[in-house]
Amino acid sequence: MESRTLVHPGIIADESPSTRDPTPVRWALIGIALAFFAVFLLLPLLTVFAEALRKGWGAYLAALTNPDALAAIQLTLLVAAIAVPLNLVFGVTASWAIARFDFVGKRVLITLIDLPFSVSPVISGLIYVLLFGAQGWFGPWLQEHDVRIIFAVPGIVLATIFVTFPFVARELIPLMEAQGWEEEEAAVVLGASGWQVFWHTTLPGIKWGLLYGVILCNARAMGEFGAVSVVSGHIRGLTNTMPLHVEILYNEYNYAAAFAVASLLALLAIVTLGIKELVERRVHRHSSPGSRENES
């Protein structure tokens, strides 16, 4: 997923003239990087806000307070509020099991955790349609008992959970494996119960990594389009999340409204990146070399 390169401060300052690239090359590289960033990242972001505000603040606010838009915002928040805590619990449990125990099927579990990343979101949605849809495996049974999953909120929640499942676990597994088991063992020998061990030794060690995973998980949960699109049925005011609402408005040539709702998602992304940056700094400070073993 994302690459987290830890750039050492001072790496440029320490470079000797013999290993430094010639100035023109340096400027060319920086120039290309900045131009690329401007055209492909900054410009679209600005476009979103520019388009959203093209008809003025009144139209912008009207687009956001439209009942359908409000329903979409509400649904998106609801889905995230269910999917993120569940994935938090699943993620911690799965990474605990993988990092701490050896068991049959461990490799398979590690591979399966990555499945949502490797499979197209559309397929993820289709899996649930095949399982719970009218013609699906459990379809008849569900219809008999009057339970609606596909084209209803439960389906959206399920698809979102599936798609966002790896974020927390992927963040925690390497962290917990690197931290080892000794502190927990020390706590057990000192008489701590299982819950006390988790609360006092495991959690403090993983909290920043955990928060980082939750932030990414949340961003994806709110922004997921493909899988949700398949299971939602696009019923206005009922099963439209924000990304789906944006698409519908756009298809209706209602650009200003589409971009207004999109601007909310963009804002969410910016805030997420901001928090992520802060958390990342904490994570690196806590796992920086020397904080664990620095006797010489």
Partner: protein
């Protein structure tokens, strides 16, 4: 609390970590489990603590079978090799942890906890570090905090895994002496694991030598050093020279040379391995006829009161150089130098019959 280990065996896959181990440790004793890395000593320690389970055998604490008692209820203190201090807690909170996690009924008041933690920090002479975090401490300080934390719950048994392994030589020596003093003060039954024979011999009341999951010898430091029971022990404790030969007519034949034996060493004939410590040789200049092994001095390192000589076999047999320690005066009196020929006469030999070994 006394510890009795009865017929303990443990496998990790195809690896036999412990093989029918039985040891008795008396109340208040300080015992070292000594052996090369991978010999199973740490596994044994972890089984005593309850962090690992044996495949067979049992651990009796004060005569009661503890095999099925949970770690929490065994009342052991464990000091981990890398200390395993809680990184995010201050030194004070680390030491207080074992008291604070107790159930409400058994938990001392916060004032009592404070008092006990301060007392323990004074005991390990680090009360001025109470507010620091583990990352701000040196290795030796962390080690002592880990010890204070283990002692806070008033364990009946103290278990230490390579307690000085990660420290530099000087600190290690200091802490060793300090641990011995501490034990004499608090007298809690203690078992520590080490691969460093010097450490084991200096600190422990008794030493348990372990090799490949088996107990080779148990005894006081003097007895295991002076009268090793097996070739492994002879080889492992201190530096030693090894000669293969045969016993015939009350003499040891090494190649074509003959070394006279004390009556005590005269075992009936057959193949034998002889161990001679570097300081148990007499040197005779030249290669006169008679009992002894001809050798050539290759190197003399004469620093401090003892001179260390490295010799090669005079009969051209390849192999490890022979190590001999002499005091400087003796070396001066003999007047031998590098390149000289000498006859080596062992004063003390530890003999093991190889036929018996094979059996």
């Amino acid at each position: 609390m006394s510890i009795a280990i009865r017929h303990l065996s443990k496998r990790f896959g195809a690896f036999q970590a412990l093989d029918d181990v039985s040891i008795d440790i008396g109340s208040g004793e300080l015992v070292a489990l000594l052996g090369p890395s991978g010999c199973g000593k740490t596994t044994l320690l972890r089984i005593i603590a309850g962090l690992e389970y044996a495949d067979r055998g049992e651990v009796l604490l004060d005569g009661d079978d503890a095999s099925h008692r949970h770690v929490r209820e065994r009342q052991v203190g464990f000091v981990f090799q890398h200390y395993a201090l809680f990184r995010h807690m201050s030194v004070f909170d680390n030491v207080a942890f074992g008291l604070r996690v107790r159930s409400r009924k058994l938990r001392p008041t916060e004032a009592q906890i404070r008092e006990r933690v301060v007392r323990l920090l004074k005991l390990v002479q680090l009360d001025w570090l109470a507010d620091r975090h583990p990352s701000q401490l040196s290795g030796g300080q962390r080690q002592r905090i880990a010890l204070a934390r283990a002692l806070a719950v008033e364990p009946k048994v103290l278990l230490l895994d390579e307690p000085f392994g990660a420290l530099d030589a000087k600190v290690r020596k200091e802490l060793r002496r300090w641990l011995r003093q501490l034990h004499d003060e608090i007298h809690v039954t203690s078992v520590f694991v080490t691969h460093d024979q010097e450490e084991a011999l200096e600190v422990a009341d008794r030493v348990v030598l372990i090799n490949s999951g088996r107990v080779e010898q148990v005894g006081t430091p003097e007895s295991v050093y002076e009268t090793p029971a097996t070739p492994f022990v002879a080889n492992f404790l201190g530096s030693v020279n090894l000669f293969h030969g045969r016993i015939e007519g009350g003499q040891l034949h090494v190649g074509e040379h003959v070394i006279g034996l004390d009556s005590g060493d005269r075992e009936p004939g057959g193949g034998a391995v002889a161990f001679v410590r570097p300081h148990d040789f007499d040197l005779v200049p030249g290669w006169p006829a008679g009992s002894g092994l001809p050798a050539k001095i290759e190197r003399v390192v004469s620093i401090g009161p003892t001179a260390q000589l490295e010799l090669s076999r005079g009969d051209g047999e390849a192999g490890e150089p022979i190590e001999v320690h002499l005091d400087r005066q003796t070396l001066g009196r003999l007047g031998v130098r590098e390149g000289d020929r000498v006859l080596l006469r062992p004063r003390r030999i530890r003999l093991f019959q190889t036929d018996a070994l094979a059996a």
